[in-house]
């Protein structure tokens, strides 16, 4: 029996799960709907386990609108990673469980959580049973592992090169990735936004494809210009590249 903070924006399903975690398994569960509320909750009370979704649709939609209008003063996108990071310093140091449906735009978040925050409990949301989530909570509370088979494919294979040694390797790479994710797709724009010289960006971009992307995805066969490859990758993963918790850890 554990005290559990559940951070989930699908309130109907989350409410049902909360009740069952309590009635069937005796967990004392508090439900909040977004990372900001979770951070407040974590600051006021000690939990054993924090169950977090990766992306929260209302936050992503708000941020996407802000991103396309170009107004990006202030924090970047808040995701479940913010909660996991805060949990590491919160009273009681609650252990995280990632509870996700595992879509493509959460893939880098799952890798990052595994590699940087040492998250070892992953549960798929779509099973229709509370039992796997209960097992994940029990495993996490005990410092053990639980990985739902449906989320297994998303995690790094043995010997995989971590994100910190590829796309997050150094500050200039990160600046370029974030600028591309913000919608700046020409060398000149990238130079203006990042403050690096046009030549530096021109030299770095092919390396970012050959050394970073191809290490992450050995199946990648770049067919277009290196910059186009980066744009394509950033279009698929902008939620991660513009994640606030990632920026805090890797400015």
């Amino acid at each position: 029996m554990s005290t559990v903070l559940l951070v989930e924006d699908h309130s109907g399903y989350a409410g049902l799960v909360c009740r069952e975690l309590g009635t069937a398994h005796g967990h004392e569960t508090v439900l909040v709907s977004d990372p900001a509320a979770a951070l407040r909750e974590l600051a006021t009370r000690a939990y054993d386990v924090a169950v977090v979704d990766v992306l929260y649709e209302p936050l992503v939609r708000d941020f996407a609108a802000r991103r396309t209008r170009g107004g990006l003063a202030g924090p970047l996108l808040a995701s479940g990673l913010s909660v996991i990071r805060a949990a590491g310093a919160a009273p009681g140091r609650p252990r995280p469980v990632i509870w996700s449906s595992g879509e493509a735009n959460r893939h880098l978040h799952l890798l990052f959580a595994f590699q940087e925050f040492g998250v070892r409990a992953y549960c798929s949301k779509g099973t229709g049973s509370v039992e796997p989530l209960h097992r994940a909570i029990v495993a996490a509370a005990a410092g053990g592992r639980y990985v739902d088979r449906l989320l297994d494919p998303y995690l790094p294979a043995a010997g995989a090169v971590p994100l910190r040694r590829t796309i997050l390797r150094d500050q200039s790479r990160r600046a370029i990735w974030r600028a591309i994710a913000l919608g700046y797709h020409s060398r000149r724009e990238l130079a203006t936004i990042t403050g690096y010289s046009d030549r530096h960006i021109g030299n770095l971009v092919p390396t970012m494809v050959a050394e970073d992307l191809q290490l992450l995805d050995p199946g990648l066969r770049p067919g277009r210009s290196p910059l186009s490859e980066l744009v394509r990758f950033a279009a698929h993963h902008w939620e991660f590249l513009l994640d606030e918790a990632v920026r805090e850890l890797y400015p």
């Binding site: 699908h10 069952e20 294979a157 995805d217 279009a235």
Partner: protein, 380 residues
């Protein structure tokens, strides 16, 4: 998909340009009839004006129908032949001394421009470079040959300058056509990428929503309600179909969707981690089909327990699926009525294979396929 869009866009562009360019050619013919032909040469003027009228009729016809470029090579060739015939006719109508007598260009120097611009932006599928080079060579050489003929092989500097200027105008028209096509392609690409990003975002959240709602319904009414199972299978099926449309297929998602399809009937004791690996579409389709077929075998012929492994080694993807059933007879690979026979044939078509791994309990199958295509593709 983007290539299809390019072609569709270029065709629309070419369709709008054709009547405009034919009209322009008509105007150029009329101007030449007034400017280049002597006022006394009524025959010459009549010929050029008649040709202008034919061009105008052609322009209206092209406007009202699909245009010449959509009618196939014969009609395109017919129009292109005008680039040779009309300047020849013109050369016979003007006084030989005045042909190529102006440095701005030979008579009718602007005539090829319109057609060259359309030609440059049209999406030819084969021999494009060869055709464009041939047409430009004809446009460059014809006035030169005419000048040499009219001046008995001794053209003046002005004659040569005039011929060169004519070619430069034609080349510029061709380049303008290429630039217009490039601008449109850029616009199409940008629009397509924005749209795809929106769709991807939309479907990712839609699937997440649908998953969550189905999970909630299963929770309320029970996991084994047939309609719910059917809905889950439909969602998995459609999601897989969408994933397998991509040029670079994300393997993690393909594996997840296949596993989810069978999750209520199957216990998987080991499942591979593939990270961000993507594979080309034919390989993705094969691996998805293989995983689906082999997991189905594990359900139908074994105890519903399976283990799956995946690795990449020396440019090949290797998928292994094992179960705890009675095992497989080697004859099953030779029986054309079985799914394993078809699967092995599909693997071999891509340069891979499907084999039974001996010495294991139950059936243990290994499918291998080159990640980067055949040897010829790799060396290319």
């Amino acid at each position: 998909m983007s290539e299809d869009l390019y072609r569709a866009t270029s065709r629309r562009l070419a369709h709008s340009l054709q009547p405009a360019m034919a009209s322009l050619q008509a105007v150029i013919l009329v101007c030449s009839a007034i400017e280049d032909i002597d006022t006394s040469a009524l025959f010459g003027r009549s010929v050029l004006c008649s040709l202008a009228a034919v061009h105008l009729v052609g322009a209206v016809w092209m406007w009202r129908t699909v245009g010449l470029f959509e009618r196939g090579p014969f009609w395109v060739g017919l129009w292109l032949s005008m680039l040779v015939v009309i300047p020849l006719v013109e050369a016979h109508l003007v006084r030989s001394a005045s042909y190529a007598g102006y440095i701005a260009g030979v008579p009718l120097f602007a005539y090829p421009a319109g057609l060259l611009a359309v030609l440059a932006c049209y999406p030819w599928t084969r021999h494009r470079l060869l055709l464009d080079t041939a047409v430009l060579a004809v446009v460059a050489l014809e006035p030169l040959l005419i000048v040499l003929q009219l001046h008995s092989g001794h053209p003046t500097g002005t004659n040569l300058f005039s011929v060169t200027a004519s070619f430069v105008w034609s080349l510029l028209a061709y380049l303008v056509g290429r630039v217009i096509a490039r601008i449109f392609r850029g616009a199409v690409t940008g629009q397509l990428e924005t749209q795809q990003e929106d769709y991807r975002e939309f479907f990712d959240f839609l699937h997440s929503h649908v998953d969550t709602v189905i999970a909630a319904v299963r929770r309320r009414v029970g996991p084994d309600v047939p309609e719910i199972q059917q809905l889950r299978h439909t969602v998995c099926d459609r999601r897989l179909a969408m994933l397998l449309l991509r040029d670079a297929v994300p393997l993690a998602e393909v594996f997840k969707e296949n596993l989810r399809f069978f999750d209520t009937a199957l216990t998987v004791t080991a499942f591979p981690r593939v990270g961000l690996l993507t594979v080309r579409r034919p390989v993705g389709v094969l691996l998805s089909r293989a995983l689906g077929d082999l997991l189905k075998n594990a359900i139908q012929h074994a105890d519903g327990t399976a283990e799956v492994d995946f690795s990449t080694h020396q440019g090949s993807a290797v998928l292994e699926v094992g179960d705890r059933g009675p095992g497989l007879s080697p004859a099953v690979f030779e029986d054309a009525s079985t799914s394993l026979y078809a699967l092995r044939r599909a693997a071999r078509d891509l340069g891979g294979d499907l084999v039974a791994v001996p010495g294991r309990q139950g059936a243990h199958l290994r499918l291998s396929v080159p990640l980067y295509g055949t040897v010829a593709e790799r060396s290319a």
